[in-house]
């Protein structure tokens, strides 16, 4: 770099931009586990994980502050805020996404959302097909299908039966790995896919590294204001209303600023 600087000063700014280290703060509150990670580019510097059933609303910000103090980073040095955007617990997602939005907005930094299911899939080191899932009750799941880090079936709210059907008609049955909230579906998995590997929730806790590996290939959002959790499910009240009021949905006028 010194040589380049001596030879041609005009290129130094470009070069500097390329080698500038990106300071990344990432967190995941999409389910019971909490992770806070600091990284420089994709080099993880600090990880905090907790799987205690404690309110994320109490723990998240003090965990972020402790991480920043541990690395002696200032908030205005951050280049990227990364958050697990969903699916997951609606409350957990709102806690993470509110913090991410307000922090990115107020310090003026980039904001990146990562799929909570992709984070789980990322942690499985295998070339097999990975099926991360969260329990959505009533035999439903939030699930996607991933292979080698590529999303081959989008994250969706679906019945577990439909997911099985899709897997059977599209994939080689022996090469499946289920991760996440697998316990409630263990019997079905064993009978439908006897050769599949199954990791329990405890065995597939977010480790804080997957989110860092994923964020580097994701572009920051254009508009922080319109960044919201990926709930992947409308509320029951809205579903019922839409059924009785076809064609009357008017989302741009539901909320307005009082003048």
């Amino acid at each position: 770099m010194l040589q380049i600087l001596m030879h041609d000063f005009s290129h130094s700014a470009t070069l500097y931009a390329k080698i500038k280290i990106m300071k990344v703060l990432a967190f995941d509150t999409s389910n019971q586990p909490l992770t806070v990670t600091l990284a420089e580019d994709d080099q993880v510097k600090y990880i905090f994980t907790s799987n205690v059933a404690r309110n994320h609303s109490i723990q998240l910000l003090s965990s972020i502050q402790a991480a920043m103090q541990h690395e002696n980073w200032q908030f205005d040095e951050l280049d990227r805020i990364v958050v697990a955007q969903g699916p997951g617990s609606f409350t957990g997602l709102r806690i993470g996404v509110t913090v991410a939005k307000v922090l990115a907005n107020t310090i003026g930094t980039d904001l990146i959302g990562v799929s909570s299911l992709a984070i789980l899939a990322q942690q499985v080191i295998s070339h097999k097909i990975v099926v991360p899932l969260f329990n959505a009750r009533n035999q439903n799941v939030f699930a996607g299908v991933y292979q080698n880090g590529i999303n081959i079936k989008p994250d969706e709210h679906q019945s577990f039966a439909n997911l099985c059907q899709w897997l059977k008609s599209n994939q080689q049955l022996d090469d499946l790995i289920f991760v996440g909230d697998t316990e409630p579906f263990n019997d079905s998995i064993q009978s439908e896919f006897p050769h599949a590997a199954v990791l329990t929730a405890e065995e597939s806790l977010p480790d804080g590294k997957g989110i860092i590996a994923l964020q580097k290939n994701i572009l920051p959002v254009d508009d922080i204001d319109t960044f919201n959790p990926n709930y992947l499910r409308k509320t029951q009240a809205e579903l019922n209303w839409l059924e009785n009021h076809p064609g009357q949905d008017d989302p741009n006028h539901y909320v307005f600023e009082v003048k």
Partner: protein, 338 residues
């Protein structure tokens, strides 16, 4: 000079405001979800929480822009931590704590009800002892303040809040949600023709009850419908509102007789009711030692400016919270112990 940025999201309004010294509003940005919840005839908590997160950064930007200030110009962050809907409260709480963390500002926790009462500061100075009639969709109570930042309940509703009874009667009469303003407007244009009972009018306390009145209105409407009579909604609205205002007035009069105060505050969403404001103005004329301080119309509904006003009282009293501050959906004032 103390500048406080305040966050409020306890129900269906997302709001951020900047208030100077607890009484001068530099900005007050409010996003209301009223059109959304009108679809369901009332607030749906999960829908409300989703709207809050859609609007939190917009109202924050707007509040700073309106006041033409940057975070460096601020001294503290006040936030409603209860009472309210837990999912709604969480968005404002996390937003406020994040803003405070990023800019190294102290966090001031605020009781939403104290906020409603503190909005009287936008009308004038509060002299102590003071009393407040706090009437909203979730609360109806008489609050005694023997000194600044000291709130003791001397009477409260035993069942429905006054605003809740407006919404229920409004639904019965097929008015759009929220029905308070519609009923008030109709009531003032029509004669009360039905004498509905004013609950607990003779009891020896300061408590309220509105469920009996609600049932009486429902029975009246059902009987009329069974007889195939045409309902005069205007007369019914006037009759219902008279009963509500009578109940509020009777309790307030008794409380003022037994607890002489220098300032009497009317606060909460129902404080926008014109008939209530007028009758209380007339009542307070018979208490010449007491100044009537109704919250200005534009601050009767939920807004963050009032949280900034109450936050200033807490700031001065040295009441601060850490980053682990959580919501308290059932937060209330203590009862006055005699």
């Amino acid at each position: 000079m103390t500048r406080i940025i305040a966050f409020e999201s306890s129900a269906d309004e997302t709001s951020v405001a900047i208030v100077e010294d607890g009484h001068t509003v530099l900005s007050n940005s409010v996003a209301t979800q009223i059109n959304s919840h009108r679809r369901f005839g009332g607030i749906v908590p999960e829908v409300a929480s989703r709207h809050h997160i859609e609007w939190i950064t917009r109202v924050l930007d707007d509040a700073l822009k309106q006041a033409a200030l940057t975070p460096k110009d601020l001294d503290a962050v006040a936030v409603t931590y209860g009472p309210g809907l837990v999912g709604s409260l969480l968005v404002g709480l996390m937003g406020a704590k994040t803003f405070a963390m990023a800019h190294h500002l102290p966090i001031v926790p605020v009781n939403h009800l104290a906020g409603h009462i503190a909005a009287a500061r936008f009308a004038g100075k509060v002299e102590y002892p003071a009393m407040a009639l706090m009437v909203s969709g979730g609360h109806t109570e008489l609050v005694l303040m023997r000194e600044e930042n000291d709130f003791k309940v001397i009477g409260e509703t035993r069942d429905d809040a006054a605003g809740e009874s407006y919404d229920k009667v409004g639904r019965l009469l097929e008015f759009p949600y929220p029905a308070g303003k519609i009923i008030d407007d109709l009531a003032r244009k029509n004669q009360a023709t039905v004498k509905f009972p004013t609950a607990m009018a003779h009891d020896d306390n300061y408590d309220f009850s509105f469920s009996g009145l609600k049932s009486a209105v429902i029975n009246y409407v059902h009987n009329a419908q069974q007889r195939g009579e045409n309902l005069n909604k205007g007369e019914l609205a006037a009759s219902f509102q008279n009963a509500v205002v009578d109940a509020l007035l009777g309790r307030t009069k008794r409380a003022l007789e037994n607890y002489p105060v220098k300032t009497f505050i009317l606060a909460g969403g129902v404080a926008a009711n014109q008939q209530l404001r007028q009758t209380l103005t007339a009542l307070l004329e018979t208490f010449p030692e007491t100044t009537f301080l109704p919250v200005p119309m534009q601050y009767t509904g939920d807004n963050a400016a009032m949280i900034g006003a109450a936050g200033y009282w807490n700031y001065q009293a040295g009441i601060f919270a850490d980053l682990d501050l959580n919501t308290d959906p059932g937060l209330d004032f203590d009862l006055l112990s005699l």
